[in-house]
């Protein structure tokens, strides 16, 4: 990932530092507001959810991807198109469950955590929990109910950041959330 300022770069990109720092400021505000890691995780996921609901529309409009035939294809699209487009990284898809309904995204350098060091005493904080909400909501909007969670996090000393996605069920065509 390039660390220079983005002068003259792709007009659709913002400075990565701006994004990272803004996210960091937000998390620390949440920590001030709640003083409880679990509640912060919950709020981050909720905010991610609200973002994901909108992001999927932008994604479908810009990427020209059609409906995915199976969960494997979904995984590929998320890693190679989605993450690439929005965060400029391509996580590795691995650890498929035998049934093919669960996989992991291995993220090497998470742009959300570029300048971050977790102070001690926040062992249950999922710093990048926003991502879980985003993925969950975006997939829900294309009729897939998926469980998303972090199982490894570089911020907590793990070698890699691992995001686990589990397919729960296909949603029947119904009224979108929030419009009932």
């Amino acid at each position: 990932m390039s660390r220079q300022s983005t002068r003259g770069g792709d007009p659709r990109k913002v400075n990565g530092e701006l994004f990272t720092l803004t996210y960091g400021a937000l998390v620390s505000q949440l920590l001030k507001d709640y003083e409880d890691d679990d509640e912060v995780n919950k709020q981050l996921e909720k905010m991610g959810y609200n973002i994901g609901v909108r992001l999927i529309e932008d994604f479908l409009a810009r990427s020209n991807t059609g409906r995915c035939n199976d969960f494997r294809e979904t995984a590929d699209v998320i890693a190679k198109v989605g993450f690439k487009m929005y965060l400029g990284i391509t996580p590795v898809v691995s650890n498929w469950s035998p049934a093919g309904d669960e996989f992991s995204l291995l993220i090497e350098n998470n742009p959300l955590t570029d300048f971050v060091e977790l102070p001690p005493g926040h062992s249950s904080l999922c710093f990048s929990n926003l991502l879980c909400g985003v993925l969950k909501a975006a997939l829900e909007m294309v009729q897939m109910e998926v469980d998303v969670k972090f199982v490894q996090d570089q911020l907590k000393g793990d070698n890699i950041t691992e995001l686990r996605l589990k397919f729960l069920r296909r949603l029947e065509d119904a009224i979108p959330v929030g419009e009932d």
Binding site: R12, K13, L18, T20, T22, L55, Y86
Partner: protein, 156 residues
């Protein structure tokens, strides 16, 4: 490098989070909270953006940095107009301010404008404060998406 859409959504969500969780009476605090979030971001950003540049000659030089480099790195454009009364007041005018372009191009939603400008104001104040200038930054909109930022330097 993140996509601009993600950043814009994050910014919007940040605002709606603050307003969602604040009680009715303390909604005034939301603006100052957003401003202080921006302050922090601006502080770090100016540190990163100026690490290779030489010392600024004077106040005006610093303002030019904000209008050109800072604006370019953050909003992908330069400030359209910079004016000053040479007594510590600077007005930066952006005719197409990024955070407002998606909202409206006219007078509709004017009452929502302050929410979307608090964070950017804080960013300017933070950036300047890290360059040794204490100031008060306010924003003024007469018709979206144009916007004027007024920087008033505090002299001791």
């Amino acid at each position: 490098m993140a996509d601009e859409v993600v950043f814009e959504y994050l910014h919007m969500e940040m605002i709606s989070y603050l307003y969602r969780t604040a009680e009715k009476i303390e909604q005034d605090h939301c603006i100052s909270k957003l401003e202080s979030l921006g302050f922090r971001v601006g502080q770090s950003l100016s540190e990163r953006f100026t690490k290779d540049s030489s010392r600024f000659k004077d106040e005006l030089d610093t303002m030019k940095f904000i209008c050109k480099d800072f604006w370019n790195s953050v909003y992908k454009k330069q400030v359209d107009n910079l004016r000053t009364n040479h007594q510590g007041v600077y007005v930066l005018q952006d005719n197409k301010f990024r955070f407002l372009t998606q909202i409206s191009s006219g007078k509709q939603y004017m009452d929502a404008a302050p929410k979307y400008l608090a964070f950017p104001c804080g960013m300017i104040r933070g950036a300047l404060s890290n360059l040794g200038i204490n100031c008060v930054v306010t924003a003024e909109v007469s018709a979206m998406p144009a916007c004027k930022f007024q920087i008033q330097i505090q002299r001791l």
